[in-house]
Amino acid sequence: MINDKIFEKVRQCVASVFNLEKESVSPDSSYETIPNWDSLGHLRLIMAVEEAFAVRFATEEIPTLLNVRLLCDTVGKYVGIRAGD
């Protein structure tokens, strides 16, 4: 289960970076389901999420954040919010 507030903001970032309708982005959306989620697209998304939450992911984390659920969970870890908060 992912935190709703985080999901909404991450969803907004994904929609904006990849030029999608926000409603089409789900927790299971990933590089496999979103066209243009290539290496530079991934980096643009990471930068957008970092800016939205004022966090900075570690270099070794960046390649692992390949779906919306993982992004939300990792942001939650940084901002100290758990699912359901």
């Binding site: 496999e32 290496s39 530079l40 980096l43 930068m47 270099t59 390649p63 390949l66």
Partner: protein
């Protein structure tokens, strides 16, 4: 199935046409950031370590990307790994493919006793520069002379943080290139 393999001279000869096609497609889809696509002559030229440290990326039989590297020695005597060219077809849905290719080369180079990766990146392609910094973990050398004086530990030469648009604390050279490095 996507695989990364060593780009030997023989494999290059076999796949040269496809590799040039990937290069040209990368140039066409780069939005003008890829200014000097390599020709057949650039790809076939011999360089030290090139046939050991270059990689081909393929999806079953189809060539989908490449990474051309060599080992170099700086005037200061530092032996390091250098990237010349890298491209992946835009339609390839695997964001870490280039990173995996680099890591594959880094592992091999480290076993061979190389300790540093040093390369240059054009300032007109900030997204790729940022990729080197944030994803590959590189830092930017302050100025071109750093590469000539390069001896390993970067004390005092690397100060850079990317802010998403520009690199601060470093200057591109007259050709608009940044020099970047990381320890293997």
């Amino acid at each position: 199935m996507i695989e990364i393999e060593r780009l030997t001279r023989e494999i290059l000869a076999e796949r040269l046409q496809e590799i040039c096609a990937v290069e040209n497609m990368a140039a066409e889809t780069s939005g003008g950031t890829y200014r000097h696509p390599w020709t057949r002559g650039d790809f076939t030229m011999d360089l030290p370590g090139k046939w050991t440290y270059s990689r081909l990326m393929r999806d079953n039989a189809k060539t989908i990307g490449f990474l051309v590297m060599s080992d170099k020695t700086s005037p200061a005597g530092m032996h390091y790994l250098h990237a010349h060219r890298a491209a992946v077809l835009k339609e390839v849905r695997r964001p870490n493919l280039l990173l995996d290719a680099y890591n594959d080369v880094f592992r091999e180079a480290k076993v061979d006793g190389l300790t540093w990766f040093v390369t240059k990146q054009q300032s007109y392609h900030p997204a790729m520069l940022l990729w080197y910094i944030r994803v590959l973990g590189c830092a930017v050398l302050k100025e071109r002379k750093c590469i000539e004086e390069f001896t390993g530990p970067l004390s005092g030469t690397v100060t850079v943080e990317a802010d998403g648009k520009v690199v601060s604390g470093a200057a591109a050279d007259r050709e608009g290139q940044y020099f970047i490095a990381r320890e293997l």
